[in-house]
């Protein structure tokens, strides 16, 4: 992987959100630096859902938070509509950022345990000094599938995880956002509740005309909700692919590894390997983001790696309509993909 490049970006006038060459670094002990996100670019057009897919440590959450300026990125530019968030600060940043809201993984701990649902939902606008009438709160609670009469005076501990996540979504909607950034919003929920929340996010997006960044590690979940999927590995982008093509046309060796690792509920016994290739890739350890490999960061686990991969970082290149790939061996990767499809 990974690569850099901006070939996949759309014309500026179409973009709701654009992120250019985002770098997030954290200081670590002994003068080292954690390279969490190393120069990624992406954009979001009106009404689109971009899925960011990757395993723990790939920088997907850091990227999401840096877009929100929580904290601001080390370098790079984030523009929401026409406004550059990265160069604004203080009040100006707060004002501009309000059009972008975030939903977190753990819904219970992202709500103040001492406040009631009605106050939690109204909190955002009240901070801005706006008057909030009860009818408005009721409307948004109903929109997220909660019965206002039942939950009105309840506190977070009296609600289930799924209900708390609904409250979080209601809170976000109260500020009338353009963009919703969801960081693993369903990964702490049970399967049956996960389906409820995914359906709700989809409905909400239509109803409130939102664009969405959906960060998660579960391939099927990301595929279900996204229009485009960006696969990340160690702070870099591997592949950007229309979500409908993910299962059959993904070509980056890392995306293929992810696909190959998915346990399939409906195909018992079908988890056997196509080849030993995947086995080799899986068993290698994730390199440390303190000292990422040179060139392509995936090369230490990649079955196709050559000297070129160590020497030179691959750039994103177009592989099909809306499909971009950062791999020196994209042609080989395509053949490998075909073989695996045939074998399975």
């Amino acid at each position: 992987m990974a690569g850099s490049g901006s070939i996949h970006l759309r014309p500026p006038e179409e973009r709701v959100l654009s992120v250019d060459d985002l770098v997030v670094e954290f200081p670590a002990k002994g003068g080292h630096t954690v390279h969490a996100v190393s120069g990624i670019s992406f954009d979001l057009v009106d009404g689109e859902t971009l899925g960011i897919l990757g395993e723990s440590g790939c920088g997907k959450s850091s990227a999401g938070r840096a877009v929100m300026q929580l904290p601001p990125p080390t370098s790079g530019e984030v523009r929401l509509g026409g406004d550059a968030l990265t160069s604004s600060s203080g009040n100006q940043l707060r004002k501009r950022r309000a059009r972008m809201q975030m939903i977190f993984q753990d819904p219970v701990s992202s709500l103040n345990p001492r406040r009631k649902v009605k106050d939690l939902v109204a909190e955002g606008p009240r901070i801005w000094g706006r008057k909030v009438d009860d009818a408005q709160i009721r409307e948004v609670l109903s929109a997220v599938g909660l019965d206002p009469d039942v939950v009105w005076d309840r506190r977070p501990h009296e609600l289930s995880g799924g209900q708390c996540q609904r409250v979080c979504i209601a809170r976000a909607l109260m500020l009338d956002p353009q963009v919703l950034i969801c960081d693993e919003p369903v990964s702490s929920l049970d399967v049956s509740v996960q389906a409820q929340i995914l359906n709700l996010l989809e409905e909400t997006k239509q109803r409130y005309r939102l664009s969405m960044v959906f960060i998660a590690h579960d391939l099927a979940v990301v595929k279900n909700i996204s229009d485009r999927i960006m696969v990340m590995y160690l702070g870099k982008v591997c592949e950007i692919i229309p979500s409908g093509s993910l299962a059959l046309q993904a070509r980056h060796p890392y995306t293929q590894l992810l696909l190959d690792s998915v346990p399939e509920a409906h195909l018992p016994g079908a988890t056997t390997d196509a080849e030993g290739v995947a086995e080799q890739t899986r068993s290698a350890e994730l390199p440390s983001p303190l000292d990422p490999p040179s060139g392509c960061r995936f090369r230490t686990r990649c079955p196709l790696a050559t000297e070129l991969c160590a020497a030179q970082e691959p750039q994103l290149q177009e592989a099909g309509p809306g499909h971009y790939l950062a791999c020196h061996h994209a042609d080989l990767a395509a053949i490998l993909g075909t073989q695996e499809t045939l074998a399975s």
Binding site: N199, E202, H217, V221, K223, L258, P268, R282
Partner: protein, 355 residues
């Protein structure tokens, strides 16, 4: 499933005596709000070398069941366990503390969800492994260390000679879970209970750990109980699956027929709620409305009835027991082949019209 299912499953045509027989097990936990029926009448058997998957959502009682089988939950203050668990002919609920310790070290191994809390952060990896070897096998220091190195190699840890002197925090999550598995396997147990062994891990690492469990099971011939909320994890890795809802087993069958032709509406709904990779994006998922019952005050009748789309009047009266799927009358002796498809439902999903 109480007595009926036991009779059905316990009379196999095969001669092998079951390794584990759980009969009418109930684990009741006293809480401030009242008695919580965490496990509410579960019977099952496990043959030597067999892999059984237990799936269910949070609060279904699957973990409490695993721990009760293991003997970690016994009757005492705050908890009442009734029914019986026989492992290898011994009644686990009646074993004294000393007997339980022998059993845990040598015959039953357990792997928990979070590898970090299962390891002692101030002890080296080697110490975790040699402790149980020296205790149960009477090995001396050097022998135990040699065996520990073997075990680390067995679970696929590269460079065991270096890793054995490291502390848990120096390893990744996947490596730690391998160490926990190595600990559980140290004395070659007959049964390994793995409670959500991959939930805290990434997909690629999850795949490694599941492959490892598969390989070890066939190499060592041990039986496995794999407890998970993830149907996909259980599907390809087990011979038989039991689906739990609200403390009871609602359906059990060999893995393939359970996933291909679920009978119980809950199993069907659970499978339908999972997004699938081969389906088109933005497809609306079939969510299950409502939430699981409060097990302090479980509903009368079928526990799933309030959320079930097929529920009728009779579902609300009496709790259904597990029974054979095809309703075929039992032969005169009442013998049923082992591993049959059983469900606890008055109105099972009708799939006769489908191809």
């Amino acid at each position: 499933m109480t007595d009926t299912s036991l009779r059905l499953e316990e009379r196999p045509a095969a001669p092998a005596a079951p390794l584990l027989v759980v009969d009418g097990l109930r684990t009741v936990i006293s809480t401030a709000r009242g008695e919580l029926n965490a496990v509410d009448g579960v019977s099952l058997t496990l043959a030597p070398g067999e892999a059984l998957g237990i799936v269910g959502e949070s609060g279904s009682g699957k973990s409490v069941l695993g721990r009760t089988i293991m003997g970690l939950h016994t009757s005492g203050p705050g908890m009442t366990v009734t029914g019986s668990v026989h492992f290898d002919g011994r009644d686990i609920q009646r074993l004294p503390a000393r007997g339980l310790r022998e059993l845990w070290g040598a015959s039953i191994g357990m792997v928990f969800q979070d590898p970090m809390t299962a390891l002692n952060p101030v002890k080296k990896i080697g110490t975790h492994l040699t402790e149980t070897l020296r205790k149960h096998r009477g090995l001396d220091r050097a022998q135990a260390r040699a065996r520990a190195l073997e075990l680390l190699a067995l679970v696929g840890i590269p460079d065991p000679a270096r890793r054995i002197d490291q502390y848990p925090h120096e390893m990744s999550g996947g490596m730690r879970q391998r160490v926990v598995i190595a600990m559980a396997l140290a004395n070659e147990p007959k049964l390994l209970i793995a409670d959500e062994p991959t939930t805290a891990l990434d997909v690629t690492v999850q795949r490694q750990i599941l492959d490892l469990l598969d390989r070890l099971r066939s190499e060592l011939g041990m039986a496995l109980i794999l407890i998970s909320h993830n149907l996909g994890v259980v599907a390809g890795r087990t011979d038989r699956v039991a689906v739990m809802y609200a403390g009871r087993v609602v359906e059990t069958a060999d893995s393939r027929s359970l996933f291909d032709r679920p009978h119980h509406p809950y199993t069907e709904a659970l499978l339908a709620a999972i997004p699938r990779l081969e389906e088109a994006p933005h497809l609306r998922l079939e969510a299950i409305d409502g939430s699981p019952p409060d097990m302090v005050r479980p509903p009368s009748g079928c526990r799933f009835a309030p959320r079930c789309r097929y529920a009728r009047e009779d579902c609300l009266q009496v709790v259904p027991d597990l029974r054979p799927a095809d309703d075929a009358p039992l032969d005169p002796a009442g013998v049923v082949p082992p591993g049959r498809h059983l469900h606890a439902c008055y109105h099972p999903v009708d799939r006769s019209g489908e191809s």
